[in-house]
């Protein structure tokens, strides 16, 4: 069965500190991995996807098939990064997203 695990419910850091939000998945095929973010009082929105191999708002994520992980990283956290972050998996195409439970990132001044 496909599953996404985000082991931390809350990650609390100070501004300027590095951030790593963990995501592990289980899937027998070749999944597509995404990070979605929800800022306070805003809609859930795509942050980045592994196929793009891009950096968005300073965040990067590398797919590690050996460890079945897709951790989200940022070298220097900003207060505006405070939000709920969801890791999600898709079998590809227009298939549904399977979400993890989410990690709340709180960046303190």
């Amino acid at each position: 069965a496909q599953r996404v695990t985000q082991p931390e419910k809350l990650l609390s850091v100070f501004k300027g500190a590095p951030v790593e939000l963990k995501c592990n998945y289980s899937y027998s095929g070749s999944p597509e991995l995404f990070w979605y973010v929800q800022y306070s009082r805003q809609r859930l929105q795509l942050l980045l996807r592994h196929i793009s191999r891009e950096s968005i708002k300073g965040f990067t994520a590398d797919l590690n098939k050996g460890e079945t992980s897709f951790h989200l990283k940022k070298p220097f956290a900003q207060e505006e990064d405070s939000a709920m972050y969801y890791c999600a998996l898709s079998k590809g195409g227009y298939n549904k997203l399977i979400f993890g439970a989410g990690t709340r990132l709180a960046v303190h001044p």
């Binding site: 809609r43 929105q45 996807r49 969801y86 298939n95 549904k96 439970a101």
Partner: protein
């Protein structure tokens, strides 16, 4: 472009009552999804439409939930009768690109 629209934003009902939610996707988006998000969990797909056809409804509790997308544009999701465990945020999303889904603001349902 206008985003995905949902109504109502909030709804409180008693158990065993019925409720309906409405979603209008982004214009031109053929794929529409309904997700249920229970407090403390990530969204879970209930049903997926491609135009007006159902692609995936494997996790839809069909004894009480129903959904339709007439004319392949807007969609309604209905619960009848509601149970306490249906309390959740119901999210609608649409896409035209398989690599990005656009979410609406959600409808928060409380069943008492």
């Amino acid at each position: 472009e206008a985003g995905v629209a949902q109504s109502p934003r909030y709804k409180i009902i008693e158990k065993r009552q019925s409720v309906a939610f409405w979603c209008n996707p982004i214009s031109g988006h053929a794929t529409l999804y309904w997700y249920q998000q229970i407090l403390g969990q990530g969204p879970k797909l209930l049903i997926q439409f491609q135009n007006n056809g159902v692609v995936d409804d494997s996790q839809l509790p069909k004894d009480r939930f129903s959904a339709e997308r007439l004319k392949g544009v807007d969609s309604t999701l209905k619960i009848q009768p509601a149970k306490l465990e249906d309390s959740a945020v119901y999210l609608c999303a649409s896409s035209q690109d398989p690599y990005e889904q656009y979410f609406g603001p959600g409808t928060r349902l409380t069943v008492t």
